[in-house]
């Protein structure tokens, strides 16, 4: 799932300064799960902005709030059609995808990001989120015992561990597990240590063409469904 954190309040205040009527738009999927932009956070941000206004921050705004089930689909955004006429800007608490979806759908409407989209990850425990996938487009988890060295090794090396590992921790931080030690232990459990003995040639990330696109539908003559 996509994990993000809400931007600092003063940055948000600066962003919305030029706009009088602002709609805070939450997203009901990943941003709700990671606690950065669900209905709860929309309401909290609304209250915080009103407080800022009451304490004399520059600019007065009329703030409204709404939460869509998902902002990264045009069909959900269509549900906004009635609301955007009354606003000067949308402050989207969706990930970067949602923000861009809004700017594509409503060409005249300024849209502002309320969160910093951070990574793809999972909760470690309540209130703690860890990155797990870098979306590199060439998954090697089969060879590394289901533990991703690209994300979880600070250096992202494919042939580890490096000399910086100590007592199973990374030299970059004492609190961080060395991904390659985890991989070793896991492969040992799986009796697949021989895959450690192979050499993986470095990968050329430059050849990944951006933006990437995946086409799942076949090209069929005469079809017009989508």
């Amino acid at each position: 799932m996509i994990v993000a954190e809400q931007k600092k309040l003063d940055e948000i205040i600066r962003m919305i300064a030029p706009y009088e009527r602002v709609l805070i738009l939450g997203c009901g999927t990943c941003m709700t799960v990671c606690g950065a932009g669900g209905e709860h956070e929309v309401s909290y941000l609304h209250n915080a902005l009103r407080l800022a206004q009451a304490k004399g921050s520059n600019g007065t705004h009329t703030i409204s709030e709404y939460t869509l089930k998902r902002q990264c689909d045009t069909e959900f955004l269509d549900m906004l059609a009635g609301r955007i006429n009354d606003v000067d800007a949308v402050l989207s608490l969706a990930c970067g995808i949602g923000v861009q979806a809004i700017s594509e759908r409503f060409r005249q409407l300024p849209v502002l990001p309320g969160v910093n989209t951070s990574f793809m990850g999972m909760p470690n425990e309540w209130g703690i989120w860890d990155e797990r996938c870098a979306a590199c487009g060439d998954c090697r988890l089969a060879e590394t015992g289901g533990i991703c060295p690209i994300t979880r090794c600070t250096k992202g090396i494919l042939n580890g561990p490096c000399a910086g590992t100590k007592n199973g921790k990374c030299e970059a931080s004492k609190d961080m597990d060395c991904a390659w030690v985890l991989i070793y232990q896991r492969l040992e459990n799986l009796r697949q240590l021989d895959s450690m003995r192979r050499y993986y040639p470095p990968r050329n990330f430059r050849v990944i063409p951006r933006p990437r696109r995946i086409v799942t539908k076949a090209t069929v003559a005469g079809g017009n469904n989508g």
Partner: protein, 708 residues
């Protein structure tokens, strides 16, 4: 026919309370078990907040004579209470007693107007008759009670000993009935129903009770010195002082047997023994009464029954036989079987037979009788075989409890109302869902164990001397602490829309009681029968899709904040400090109320039902409406719930981060808790806080001036 008054009365009559649209709560086990279906959870909760008058109001809505129930109810609610699965059931009856004593019950004067012409006669003035009279009078009918004895009350007066139900209590309730306009005819034994109907009564309610003592059918049962329990209690209660001698035995294991034995002790009998043919486990008498009887020196001989009574030299020689328990009968009670050649003799001065009672309806009443001479009625309409003649109470059920009789009286009033209005009886209102099932072991483990707070009783040596009341009432602190033990079954959290739920599992992770779980299809479920209604998941849910089944907290807090804003604008008190204070526990007793009055500056209090329900949003709003400082005051370790303090501090940390970004000092937001040992320094800390806020306020004014 319908005036607004009768409609109002009708709505009061409904056996189960109405629900508002947004109320999705389930009926808790205590309410289901109560024959009157009283809203126990509600009044216990109000008591926990120290709102005794409101609690009494709820009690009075569900019970015509709460002071009587507060003394003598057999409290089936407590047997059903799920707190019993954790440690011990909530002492519901004692809490009702507390509410009645402290809530000003004596001041209440119900009134009724006559809005109907049809007169109703009630034969017998026991609890069923009195309750029926009360509700019929509330509906606007002219009601007459006919009582054979010189005083009203039926078994309440002639059956229940005074030490359990002081007569003033009964007299007060009866006085209320007379004030409401119920006509009372004492010393008026009804001999003919036909006569009543000729006198113009359109309906008759027979509640003649079950006063006839049953006989064992053993040799010598009619000897002098052998008396049946009901007659014995009646004589004593009507002021006679039968002389029993020095050694007395009571046969039976019910409440009447225990009452008779304890009454005998109070008459000065030196040695009182109870003979019961089964063992302690099968004994139908109230456990507490048995315990108190033991304390008063009454010996209970189990597995023994008399077989023959002879009279010799002015004494009774009672031959008894030992029993053993055999196979369970149809009701599941193990049957006593005599042991061969185990007879033994007891020399006694008197023997009281309290093995059961039956109603005694005169033959010329013309009503059909059923098993054990009980009057046969339709269980729904309460009608007998005679037109316009209804019956209820012990006369129909055989000896039962006061609360069952009150319930019968209330339902009969409703049915008589239907009959007199020529309409089919309205079906019993079902209140939707009721809660059942046991708590899961992991939930029980997570619930803080707090034993029952005992109320005081007079010492056995002192109380056994006379008929003075033996049970004292809770003091405030004990009552409030006891009420806080309620698990609030059936008002827990619910997911308002599975569609909006992002299944983020926050509720599952934050619940202190391990209640939410994923079902087989991957949706989150919060089982209503397990939820403890602490409110943590409601506040933490990122999708705001969880609510308590009885939602009032959030709206209530918003309203209070608006109210504070208005009053603060008028008073001009600066700097304004807003405190969210828990209404349960010590705060409910007004301990804190006394403290904040002394604090400097304008401190406004938003009462909350547990600080776990205060959202970060509320704290921001408090600052927005103009507070210079905000504090949360909760019970800390004394909180009946787990982890409340942790969640309050999480939210405070979040709001403080926001305050910092807005260049407001984070110390403007504080959290005060009392510990289990002391709450003494809270006043001082509040004082210091107010002082600090004052300084900050002054500093900010100076800064503004400087900027200008």
């Amino acid at each position: 026919m319908y005036s607004s008054a009768t409609e109002r009365a009708q709505s009061q009559l409904e056996t189960r309370p109405k629900k508002s649209l947004s109320d999705h709560s389930f009926m808790p086990p205590c309410q289901v078990a109560c024959p009157l279906h009283m809203d126990i959870r509600e009044y216990v909760d109000l008591t926990a907040q120290g709102k005794i008058m409101e609690a009494l109001q709820v009690i009075r809505n569900g019970n015509p004579f709460p002071s009587i129930c507060a003394h003598v109810c057999t409290h089936p609610c407590e047997d059903a209470c799920r707190r019993g699965q954790v440690d011990a059931p909530v002492a519901i009856r004692a809490l009702k007693r507390f509410a009645v004593e402290f809530g000003g019950d004596r001041m209440i004067r119900p009134e009724a107007d006559t809005t109907h012409d049809e007169k109703v006669a009630i034969v017998g003035s026991g609890p069923a008759g009195l309750a029926c009279a009360y509700y019929l009078r509330k509906l606007g009918y002219p009601v007459t009670i006919f009582e054979a004895h010189s005083e009203l009350g039926g078994m309440l007066r002639v059956g229940i000993p005074q030490y359990r139900l002081p007569r003033e209590v009964l007299d007060t309730e009866i006085h209320r009935l007379t004030n409401m306009g119920v006509e009372i005819r004492t010393n008026a034994r009804v001999v003919s129903i036909d006569l009543l109907l000729e006198m113009g009564y359109k309906a008759v309610f027979l509640t003649i009770g079950a006063h006839q003592g049953l006989k064992m059918g053993i040799e010598g049962e009619d000897s002098p010195g052998v008396i049946d329990g009901a007659t014995f209690l009646r004589e004593v209660n009507l002021g006679l002082k039968p002389s029993l001698g020095e050694k007395v035995a009571v046969v039976g294991g019910g409440n009447v047997a225990i009452d008779a034995a304890r009454t005998a002790v109070r008459l000065g009998v030196e040695q009182v023994k109870v003979l019961y043919r089964r063992s302690r486990a099968e004994m139908p008498a109230n456990e507490e009464e048995v315990k108190q009887a033991n304390e008063e020196g009454i010996e209970i001989m189990f597995l023994a029954a008399p077989t023959r009574i002879r009279r010799r030299n002015g004494h009774l020689i009672v031959t008894c036989i030992r029993m053993e328990l055999g196979e369970p009968d149809a009701k599941g009670r193990r049957q006593p079987v005599p042991i061969q050649d185990s007879e033994f003799d007891e020399e006694l001065d008197a023997l009281i037979m309290a093995i059961g009672q039956a109603p005694q309806a005169p033959g010329n009443f013309g009503v059909r009788l059923g098993k054990g001479s009980t009057i046969q009625v339709d269980p729904v309409t309460f009608t007998t075989n005679r037109v316009g003649v209804f019956a209820g109470g012990d006369a129909v059920t055989g000896p039962a409890t006061v609360v069952e009789a009150l319930s019968a009286g209330r339902r009969a009033a409703s049915r008589i109302n239907d009959y007199l209005n020529h309409r089919y009886p309205l079906p019993e209102k079902e209140a939707g869902d009721s809660l059942s099932g046991d708590l899961h072991p992991e939930t029980i483990e997570a619930i803080r164990k707090v034993g029952r707070f005992e109320w005081l009783t007079t010492a056995p040596e002192a109380r056994a001397k006379d008929f003075g009341p033996i049970e004292l009432v809770y003091d405030w602190e004990a009552a409030i602490n006891e009420a806080r033990r309620c698990l609030r079954c059936g008002v827990g959290a619910e997911i308002l829309s599975q569609d909006k739920c992002a299944t983020c599992l926050t509720c599952l992770r934050v619940c202190p009681y391990h209640v939410p779980h994923l079902d087989a299809s991957g949706s989150i479920q919060i089982p209503v029968d397990q939820c403890q209604a602490c409110g943590v998941c409601v506040v933490e849910c990122p999708a705001k899709v969880i609510a308590l089944r009885k939602p009032h907290d959030r709206r209530h807090i918003d309203q209070e904040l608006d109210h504070i804003l208005q009053t603060a604008a008028q008073s001009n008190a600066k700097p304004l400090i807003i405190g969210f204070c828990c209404q349960y526990g010590l705060f409910g007793t007004g301990t804190l109320a006394g403290l904040w009055r002394g604090a400097k500056g304008g401190i406004s209090i938003v009462p909350v039902l547990c600080t776990a329900k205060v959202e970060a949003d509320h704290m921001l709003r408090a600052f927005e409406v103009g507070a210079e400082g905000v504090f949360i005051a909760g019970c800390g370790e004394q909180c009946a719930r787990e982890n409340t303090d942790f969640w309050v501090r999480q939210r405070i940390a979040k709001v403080r981060r926001t305050l910092e970004q807005l260049h407001l000092e984070p110390e403007r937001l504080q959290c005060f808790t009392t510990t289990a040992t002391s709450n003494g320094d809270i006043g001082q800390r509040l004082e210091e806080f107010a002082e600090r806020i004052g300084t900050l306020h002054l500093a900010s004014i100076i800064m503004q001036e400087v900027r200008k």
